[in-house]
Amino acid sequence: MSTTLSKEPAREPAPEPTGAPPVFSIRKLWKVFGPKAERVPDSELADLPADELRRSTGCTVAVRDVSFDVHKGEVFVVMGLSGSGKSTLVRCLTRLIEPTAGTLEIDGEDVRAMDKSRLRELRRHRAAMVFQHFGLLPHRTVLDNVAYGLEIQGLGKLERRALAMKVVTKVGLEGMEHRRPAQLSGGQQQRVGLARALAVDPEVLLFDEPFSALDPLIRRDMQEEVIRLHREEGRTMIFITHDLSEALRLGDRIALMRDGEIVQCGTPEEIVAQPADDYVRDFVRDVPREQVITVRTAMRAGACSGPDHPGALAPDTIVATAIEIVARSGAAACVVEDGDCLGVVDHENLLAVVAGIGSERAAVS
């Protein structure tokens, strides 16, 4: 049972490591701010508590020994509270902030070894970023803001405007292309920011808390927009947020950061069902578990009650849906994948998930 619990992500087909290298591969990455920062990583200094380190060296560790891969087509969410180092981390990826130590590869190419022009190339064509405070040029129209990245690439005026216009339409801003940022609502401004990033057709989109400054309703709209875009284009995305529900909604995998370190990295379901420590457990306490955890986790091994697989739930069905079906039929339901029966869920299994004792049980077994 425990073997089936992990690995499989919730929605998308598994981006299992194939022959192709991951889009981003990060190993033992450090970012230390302060004088002579390079002496801190992997030394005994790094083990000092933060305030003691600052007192003795004037340094602050923002990203601490972080490793992860981001695969093609994946939405990788980095989540943490403010000050956890997540925004610094995402800036390290395109060296907007220079990392202190570690390796950093994009498509197998060493980013830290890139010279200026190669790095510029990376920023212009391969990774584009969407910012929390939009970062729009107030004196330009929506269209020219969207075209800004293309302008930097050196495209002619007509060409870049035509391209930009297509993206403006894609993010639902047609008719507003001649307005200035100040005349738009926050949500619309972030659509411009999104369009600007999309316009350069990057391999990876980086989002730095893009929706934190927006109203809850608009935030939801924008999340839908991102999900839609991802569905349509399948672009790799790295998404920074401090909002757990946003992380759970969007993420194929989530890296949870605390004090510069990744405390847990896994699918939303893993995070919720199997918190790595008390910090994570505390974090996910109020998550409606039945909305996240799937029957694959909730089921118990066992044969179906018949060859016609009563109930016949797909393994990635969430528990909330399963409850409805099981409650209606009044009987246990089968979990079926490719015509094979994987297991069964009954009242007891499902209730355990809702009650939050599923994880303990999983851990025990």
Partner: protein
């Protein structure tokens, strides 16, 4: 002196061992008191300790009177030699032939060139160009029409007052001076805005220039370039470039970091970053810089008339020599008009930046076409003027105001000068003010031991700033003693202090009134505008007529000049106080006076401190001009040096004034300048 030492020097912190004579309890109490003492008190204590050591030493060695002669350096000898060398060599030395004379000739050519263009356009062409320019700057919309009307009024005013030609000469000089100032200021601002080290190096220089009274540094330019436009131009550039540099640096430095980051994340090169993001983001500051540069240049072009700048300033200055207030005013008003025109035009352009086009009201035209219309309009006006033979402003279209102004002046003076029942009259006030306030103040300052004044300045500078601040202020004051003008400096200081006190009393009172009563502010605004831009020379004569030759006259002129800025800053500060705090006070039933005293004034403290600082700088600038009406002391020395070409006297006095300015700036500058305004 003793009042400066709050208590005995602090006992050494790591002193007596626990269990010593004082016992651990006493000691920890002392320590606690030390740590409870504000850092300010601690610093003052340290200063007091320093004083206790140094003062007896200094007093025994050099006495306790005025600045000791042993500590002076004779600079007038070398300066006279230098001045002689310049006079002997300025036609032969390569420094002049290959460098300075080129600057000189180029500036003459440039001014002449612009003047001949203006002259060639004729008055219809120039007026049309100015009006259409204003209209374009105002967004070629209905709002632009208002700006255009101001322009039309300004140029019609110049013509009507019979000042067309001098106005064009002033405009020509201004154009060149502003162009050079903007280029120089922009280059410096660019360097400072993009590089921390340059900024750090440039900042003190710009700070010093800001407190430099223009009069103080005219002399060296006269010596090197002789009288005329080159000297005037360079002095103007030095005066007018700093605000451009400051604001450029500020604009570049304060650019929204999120925009810059976004731009960098898209792979912008540093050049693209500068041209496409930083500079456009700083447009507002750049335009504000242009505006301030223009205003500074205009006031300087007038002052520079003393060294032969020509134009309107010259007309004012000439009128002064025949004691013709009317004629001086007739030349002064066009200066105000030009100032208002340029101010409103640049202001309108500044307001349009960032304001989205749709919110701009109905646009008659936009962008390129508007400028084309302006160009065509100017050409048409020029052609019509040529055909009609109207290059010169028609002689019949002038109004002579000098007669009526003079009789009004005379009438006012006759009625206020003496014999006003109960109140006495201005002459009596002036004499009482001099006898009962100025003389005692001066005598106290000049009678105080030199080291006590140094200590006082150090303590005051410490109170408002840090050690570096105190050191700078003390060194500046000491420098005046070293230069051998200790007595005169203190005389001037007494005048500045008296003028400052008066300015603040009046300014804050009027400012409070204006902040609380709407119509007072509306009435005051144009009056303040005029007072601020009217050349100081214009009101020197009425001031002498009312108050007589002497320091009281100089102080009155200074108060008149500094008052508008103080009133304006006070009003703005009071009006900007947090409305929520005011509402809270009102909801608790506070009376108007209580609101003012308990909420508005405390909250407006930064603005009031700024008003003090500005007041100091402005008052100092005019107390120097007061040398022309009997203010004596450093102001007279500067005027003396200027009119006689005496570098030894003039430059030393100028340097002393700069030092005095630095002292006053350091002891009134509330915190280290973070924002530049």
């Amino acid at each position: 002196m003793s009042t400066l030492i709050p208590e005995k020097p602090a006992p050494e912190k790591t002193g007596s061992p626990p269990g010593g004579p004082q016992g651990p309890a006493t000691r920890s109490l002392l320590l606690r008191r030390l740590s409870v003492m504000s850092p300010l008190a601690r610093r003052l204590t340290a200063l007091a300790a320093l004083a206790v050591v140094l003062v007896p030493f200094a007093a025994v060695l050099w006495g306790s009177g005025a600045w000791p002669g042993e500590l002076g350096v004779d600079v007038s000898g070398p300066l006279d030699d230098l001045s002689q060398w310049i006079v002997d060599n300025r036609d032969t030395s390569p420094v002049f032939l290959y460098f300075l004379l080129h600057i000189s000739n180029t500036s003459v050519d440039a001014v002449d060139g612009v003047y001949s263009v203006l002259d060639g356009l004729g008055w219809p062409g120039v007026t049309a160009a100015a009006v259409l320019l204003a209209w374009c700057a105002g967004g070629a919309s209905r709002a632009g029409l208002k700006v255009a009307a101001v322009a039309l009024g300004a140029f019609a005013g110049c013509g009507l007052l019979g000042m067309w030609d001098p106005a064009m000469l002033t405009l020509a000089l201004m154009t060149v001076a502003v162009a050079v100032s903007v280029v120089v200021g922009f280059a410096l601002g660019l360097a400072a805005g993009l590089s921390r080290p340059v900024d750090r190096a440039l900042r003190p220089v710009l700070d010093t220039m800001q407190v430099l009274p223009a009069f103080a540094y005219l002399l060296p330019f006269v010596l090197v370039f002789g009288t005329g436009s080159p000297a005037a131009l360079l002095a103007t550039v030095i005066y007018a470039a700093p605000p451009m540099a400051r604001l450029t640096a500020l604009g570049l430095r304060d650019a929204d970091p999120s925009v810059l980051e976004a731009s960098a994340s898209l792979g912008a090169s540093s050049r693209q970053q500068l041209l496409k993001a930083r500079l456009p983001l700083a447009r507002k500051e750049l335009l504000l810089g242009l505006n301030q540069t223009i205003m500074m240049a205009l006031s300087m072009v007038v002052i520079a008339s003393v060294i032969g700048a020509g134009g309107l300033g010259d007309e004012v200055y000439s009128a002064l020599s025949t004691v013709d207030v009317g004629a001086a005013l007739a030349a002064g008003i066009p200066i105000v008009l030009i100032a208002v025109w340029l101010d409103r035009t640049t202001e309108a352009a500044g307001e349009r930046i960032g304001a989205p086009p749709a919110a701009d009201g109905p646009r008659l035209l936009r962008g390129g076409p508007a400028w084309a219309v302006a160009a065509v309009g100017t050409a048409v006006a020029f052609a019509v003027g040529k055909v009609a033979g109207a290059a010169q402003w028609p002689a019949g279209w002038t109004v002579d105001i000098s007669g009526s102004v003079n009789s009004f002046q005379e009438w006012t003076v006759d009625n206020l000068h003496a014999g006003v029942p109960v109140l006495g009259g201005t002459e009596v006030w002036a004499s009482n003010f001099t006898v009962w306030i100025l003389n005692p103040l001066r005598d106290v300052l000049q009678g105080a031991p030199w080291w006590s004044l140094l200590l006082l300045v150090a303590a005051l500078a410490l109170l408002v700033g840090n050690w570096r601040n105190a050191l700078g202020a003390t060194a500046a004051l000491a420098a005046t003693g070293v230069l051998g003008v200790w007595g005169n400096t203190l005389d001037t200081l007494s005048q500045v202090l008296a003028a400052l006190a008066l300015t603040l009393l009046l300014g804050v009172a009027v400012g409070i009134l204006a902040a609380r009563v709407g119509w007072v502010e509306r009435v005051l605004r144009p009056v303040l505008d005029v007072l601020q831009t009217l050349p100081q020379f214009v009101y020197l004569i009425p001031v002498v007529a009312l108050f007589g030759v002497g320091r009281a006259a100089a102080i009155t002129a200074a108060v008149a000049y500094a008052l508008p800025a103080v009133v304006r800053i006070t009003t703005q500060g009071l009006k900007k106080t947090d409305p929520a705090a005011l509402e809270a006070a009102r909801s608790l039933g506070a009376t108007g006076a209580q609101q003012l005293r308990q909420v508005q004034l405390p909250l407006a403290r930064p603005a009031l401190l700024l008003a003090v600082n500005q007041g100091v700088v402005l008052v100092l600038a005019v107390v120097i001009v007061g040398g022309l009406v009997g203010g004596g002391a450093l102001g007279y020395d500067v005027v003396f040096g200027l009119s006689r070409g005496d570098l030894g006297v003039g430059l030393v006095a100028g340097a002393a004034i700069v030092c005095l300015g630095l002292v006053l700036d350091r002891v009134t500058q509330p915190t280290v300048r973070e924002t530049d305004h």
